[in-house]
Symmetry: C2
Subunit: 435 residues, 2 copies
């Protein structure tokens, strides 16, 4: 087999065999196939697409490119969730301890943020001492011990995905259904969870611009995941405006802690409860979503979810004083309020632009190697559909640098539209797939 023949076959719109896909992915992972051949192949896949059979084989090839974790000796069912990424998405920080508090083990490997999309690993690293580099062995033993782990992707798991993703990022081949689906599921297969909830976002802050596109991606992943022997369902949720109020690493941890204390924004609380409920359904812990929401809410009300979160922080080396008293979390020295320029209804607040403003402030990264400032961020004081009164706080900016603050401020002003016509708030969720 020669890489060039596989590139040309896909270029010409033909279906690749399982052997060809396996050969290409393992060859690329091992460095036998150079970046430039993989780049040409990725563009051919982007423009020619893949059949569902090809996506399944690509998913398997990615999963098999490294160690595959076997969690069956830890628990019969381990649940995981995946969010397709967004702005202000701190749902894992709430939903994972909630589900674990219901007695369902949650074992999650997660990513860092790139561009305006935040990453759970970055958020958790706002907590001094918190380790996100657990070994597969540490992952398993903590999961067995306290029923919850959230760590970075181990270097030995799905290395093909790491290499492919880095290449896709610089070759214009990110937003391709076959490549997204296989990347997500390939990692999840390798991570060992047998029940997976997918939270697929739609809107300006995501790859998927329409509910139809997101549905298509979600349906493909649900079908594929099931064919591959996993329990999978998906939620299609809105990401046209940020989720909750806080965007920025430490600010988001604080907001998640607030939700665990029955405080914080109601949209975020509701989102977390629904996600947790679906995870409980998948795990067979509850009969339906309504029962799941009720059980989830109970773990917040009785403090058990909070205690699970605290146990997670302690187990992974985090200093619990910082979550017990979140005011201790990293704080930016400049805090500035941006008042609303006019009366009216908040008609739009562009999630991507708010995310970019946090990147401007230093809270996100342009490139994979960039350092990140955990203390900076933006608080959004209104949600779409709210009546805004001129002069009241529209945003609060947390910055470390005046120049960066000015850049972020300009972007935030442009990101929202206030007008006289009332608008309905967008739904939190558009649909549920496969539940």
């Amino acid at each position: 087999m020669r890489p060039i023949d596989i590139i040309e076959k896909k270029r010409d719109g033909n279906e690749l065999t399982a052997e060809e896909i396996e050969f290409f992915i393992q060859g690329y992972t091992q460095g036998d196939i150079p970046d430039y051949q993989a780049a040409a192949w990725l563009m051919a896949v982007y423009l020619r697409g893949m059949s569902e059979r090809e996506i399944r084989d690509l998913t398997l090839a990615i999963a098999r490119s490294g160690t595959m974790l076997d969690l069956s000796d830890v628990a019969p069912i381990v649940v995981d969730k995946h969010s397709s990424g967004g702005v202000g998405d701190k749902v894992t920080l709430v939903a994972a301890p909630v589900v674990a508090a219901c007695g369902v083990p949650v074992g999650k490997m997660t990513g860092r943020g790139l561009g305006f999309t935040g990453g759970t690993v970055d958020k958790l690293e706002s907590i001094p001492g918190f380790r996100t580099d657990l070994s597969p062995q540490e992952f398993k033993s903590q999961l067995a011990r306290i029923g919850i782990v959230i760590t970075g992707q181990s270097a030995s798991l799905a290395p093909a995905d790491r290499k492919l993703y880095a290449l896709r990022d610089v070759t214009g081949t990110v937003s391709s259904l076959p490549l997204i689906a296989s990347s997500i599921l390939g990692k999840k297969l390798a991570g060992g969870a047998n029940a997976i909830l997918l939270d697929v976002k739609v809107g300006s802050g995501t790859f998927m611009k329409t509910v139809d596109d997101a549905t298509c991606l979600a349906e493909t992943m649900v079908r594929l995941g099931r064919e591959l022997g996993r329990r999978v369902s998906a939620l299609i949720s809105d990401m046209n405006q940020p989720l909750g109020w806080a965007v920025g690493n430490a600010l988001e941890v604080q907001e998640a802690i607030n939700v665990l204390h029955e405080d914080g924004p109601s949209d975020l609380r509701e989102h977390c409860l629904v996600v947790a409920a679906e995870m409980l359904v998948l795990a067979g812990r509850v009969a339906d979503s309504a029962e799941g929401v009720e059980m989830a809410a109970q773990t917040i009300a009785d403090g058990s979810a909070w205690h699970k979160f605290r146990a997670l922080v302690a187990a992974q080396g985090g200093d619990v004083r910082f979550v017990d008293e979140p005011d201790r979390l990293p704080r930016a020295p400049i805090v500035e309020v941006l008042p609303a320029p006019a009366d009216g209804y908040l008609q739009k607040i562009d999630a991507a632009q708010v995310g970019m403003a946090v990147v401007d402030l230093g809270g996100g990264r342009e490139k994979k190697e960039d350092p990140i400032d955990h203390s900076v961020g933006v608080i959004v004081h209104y949600k779409v559909g709210d009546w805004v009164q001129s002069g009241t706080p529209l945003y609060t900016l947390h910055a470390n640098d005046r120049t960066r603050l000015e850049q972020a401020r300009a972007r935030l002003v442009a990101a929202c539209t206030i007008g006289p016509e009332p608008v309905s708030p967008p739904p939190l969720f558009y649909k549920k797939i496969g539940a």
Copy 2:
């Protein structure tokens, strides 16, 4: 400007501006844009195509990536030819001295062979001492002195094309009209000739599988060349069977010398006369093709074309004893005749397979860096449409190695079809464009 934006713009089927194309090509040539980004872009161009305006700007960007030769102080009109490559194509070795003998300067930079396609530079290097690495200064002074030069592409001319071609070769992006047209014309623009005859081949031994595809490529290049201030016309010629009898470097030089001595295969002689005639028409030396053919034939009959060829060899350091007595040219030690297995008409003889057989024998290269054996090759004794008598020589193989010979033999047996139904010989030329 960012390379990723240019990749995505083309990926999405949009037209690139002249500035974007210039930025990408110069950035790639200078090493600021890495191979993997260029590979993704090439695949996007392959699958999305380019407008004629984009092809023109790409051609200019390639031409401007290095030195541009100005030949206006040598002669008002310098003519060049380009063949899209084939098997047994030694036309330049005859047509260039014929045209030069008619008083029209011929200045040609040409390539090496790759795969089963032979290269004029490789053929000329069968002649001991022949230099194909003339500097631009040597090129100009020889052109002024004797009116004929055939050398390898100078490293300072169109370096973008060299880099792009090497990348296209390994990324499945060779057979793309915009990339082929801009590669050919970009080099020709840089080479300084103001009249260019394109010999576009159709058939198994070429990129272009149909007359329609070849016509489309030729028409595009003729239009573009004229817009860019050059006199350009094109011939569409057959390459389903090898041209002439000889395939292999020294064997082809010998056959070209035979044609210059009014000997050799009639298809090759006719092809050379027509190509030379069109070059003379382009240069304004004759009024029409018929007059051109007559003048060309006269230079062969009176020996002036042969003397021009001999002068070329001498000027470029070649040992003229080897062309005066071509039996001295490199000879392979094993010469074996493959007899016809049956009576019948020769219905097909696959040019690509004959070319590959010569690669098997060591007379072509798989990769750019491979060495080449000038002595080996194949003589084809019949042309399509001929009556073949069982037991008479079908091929003669010239080999240096028994194993390689067996490999080539098997391929050659499979390459031809002999059957009872008579077939008409294919035409030498399908059409002429822009003359």
